[in-house]
């Protein structure tokens, strides 16, 4: 055996070791600035990916806005909603008028008008065109009615409960809500709302796949760098971090674009919507994304971007090992 040199003391580490928090902050700041400048270096690719995510997020967000607006329009149309209470024939005209007066003081009722049997007959004669036919009849076949207008500022369920209540009054033979179509609208809205949820779920998956695939390609393109990183002992968290931030940025830009797209759609629909509402004697105006909804779109973008990146990173990073 030839000369083995005598062991000398190993090299000393000189500068102070940064604390864990300092190191973490510094690592994250470096990852953030590094990923942002990397994305800025290829703005077209970044924007295309962000647009795909933005459109994907805008679809459920837009549908949700539409449903919210239709719901609101329905609520405002409740002003034109009337219920007819058909009174028993043995209720006197005085009692009927008194009842109508009492009803106006009930919560949830904005007005109530008594129509006597004679008035009803008169109205029918005037408006129906069947006047002569009525003359054949011996008795007045029409019941006395109270027309109740429910207050517009209450939910649909309250109105229905009120109507059910009124139906149980001893003087009332039958209570009938005139506008069946409004109930149908609410039923359809409930259905659409459910559908929007389902679409949102499917599109969330789409965002995950878009981000995941973009990050996967990114990992593929930087295979050499990752190999070197692993060779020099970079911790997995260090190698993962830039990819996770990249996913986060894609999600964030996608969320912003989605909000902009929805707002643009709302603005372009304001005019025709106003016309439509006018046809229904409604003052309803088209509302944009609510603050909550916008926050939800942002959060969904961020969350899905990060998750998609995490998915890609955990699937693909471990397979890259330094080859020599």
């Amino acid at each position: 055996m030839t000369s083995a040199k005598p062991a000398k003391p190993g090299p000393r580490r000189v500068a102070h070791q940064p604390s864990w928090l300092e190191k973490m902050t510094q690592d994250h700041v470096r990852a953030i600035s590094g990923t942002l400048s990397a994305l800025a270096r290829r703005p077209i690719g970044t924007l295309l990916t962000a647009f795909v995510i933005g459109i994907t997020l805008a679809l459920p967000a837009g549908l949700n806005t539409l449903v919210a607006n239709l719901g609101q329009a329905g609520d405002s149309l409740q002003g034109s909603l009337r219920a007819s209470l058909f009174l028993n024939d043995d209720v006197s005209a005085e009692r009927g008028a008194e009842l109508a007066h009492d009803l106006t003081r009930r919560p949830g009722v904005s007005s109530a008008r008594y129509i006597s049997r004679e008035q009803a007959l008169e109205e029918f004669r005037t408006f129906s065109g069947f006047g002569e036919a009525l003359d054949i009849l011996k008795d007045n076949p029409l019941p006395a009615t109270i027309v109740v207008t429910p207050s517009a500022k209450q939910p649909q369920a309250r109105t229905e409960a009120l109507l059910k209540d009124l139906g149980t009054l001893p003087e009332v033979a039958q209570a009938k809500l005139d506008e069946k179509w409004l109930q149908r609208l609410y039923a359809i809205l409930a259905l659409v709302q459910r559908a929007v949820l389902m679409i949102a779920g499917a599109l969330a998956l789409a965002v995950l796949i878009v981000v995941g695939n973009t990050i996967r390609l990114d990992i593929e393109n930087r295979r050499d760098e990752i190999e070197v990183m692993k060779l020099i002992g970079a911790p997995n968290s260090y190698i993962r971090r830039p990819f996770l931030y990249t996913g986060l940025w894609y999600g964030l830009t996608g969320g912003v674009l989605a909000c902009l797209l929805v707002q643009a759609g709302v603005i372009s629909l304001v005019q025709p919507a106003r016309q439509l509402a006018g046809l229904y004697d409604s003052q309803a105006t088209l509302q944009g994304l609510s603050l909550n909804a916008a926050a939800a779109v942002f959060a969904a973008g961020l969350g899905l971007g990060w998750l998609g990146a995490f998915w890609a990173v955990s699937r693909h990073l471990r397979h890259i090992e330094p080859a020599t």
């Binding site: 055996m1 090299p11 020099i232």
Partner: protein, 234 residues
């Protein structure tokens, strides 16, 4: 003397492949510098890969810095590798980053501050004689310069152990001698160095121990012969 590398009856085969090395035992002392020689395909690279945990022994024990590598879990490998500077024939630099940024990588992953990184990177570049090239990109450098950037990157974080696999393979004799001299300088400040090389003519002029491997085994007789040669030239 404590050993920094200890191989005890180590064998290795790649999945489904033939045995690359079989029943190899050797040690490298702390602060020692030694050469690993043998023809191409004899298993020199595999020996270094086993030491850096780029591969795992299929039989026997590899102990580095007192740790049995079989006990190191996958998640602990990065921390383990940070103790070792690795240099390959292909310096595997990142071509879209400057020389400075390439050398700074090991410090970045350790979370050194910016000032500290600047100082250490320049010291390492100075040691390999490339300080004026810190802003250059690797592809604008010669093969020898690229190799030296790789060496600067391997030593910048001052690992206690340096492994080099054919670091002079692409270099002309003068550059090769420069690189070897560089390793000797690091060794003088206490770094343990193991260099795999088949440049016998170069190695035989140096005073360090030579470990010879052939067909996957250390051949004591061959080794003794080579030792004699070393003495002749040394």
């Amino acid at each position: 003397m404590a050993d920094i590398i200890h191989f005890h009856r180590v064998s290795h085969r790649y999945d489904g492949g033939p045995q690359i090395i079989s029943d190899v035992s050797f040690t490298l002392g702390k602060g020692e510098m030694a050469f690993l020689t043998g023809p191409s395909g004899a298993g020199k690279s595999t020996l270094l890969r086993l030491t850096a945990l780029l591969a795992r022994a299929t039989a026997g024990q590899v102990v580095v810095e007192g740790r049995n590598l079989a006990d190191i879990k996958r998640s602990q490998i990065p921390a383990f590798r940070r103790q070792i500077g690795v240099i390959f024939q292909n310096p595997s630099l990142l071509n879209e980053r400057t020389v400075f940024d390439n050398v700074a990588l090991p410090l970045l992953i350790r979370g050194h501050s910016g000032d500290d990184i600047g100082r250490r990177v320049r010291a390492a570049l100075d040691a390999v004689g490339l300080l004026p090239k810190e802003k250059a990109f690797p592809l604008t450098l010669s093969g020898g310069e690229q190799q030296r950037v790789g060496i600067a990157r391997a030593v910048v974080a001052k690992p206690p152990l340096l492994l080099a696999d054919e670091p002079t393979g692409n270099l002309d004799p003068q550059l090769a001698m420069d690189v070897m001299a560089l390793f000797m300088r690091f060794n003088e400040v206490g770094v343990s160095v193991l260099v795999a090389s088949h440049a016998i003519s170069l190695i035989s002029r140096l005073p360090h121990r030579v470990i010879h491997i052939e067909k996957g085994t250390l051949e004591e007789r061959r080794k003794a012969e080579l030792m004699d040669k070393t003495h002749d030239f040394g």
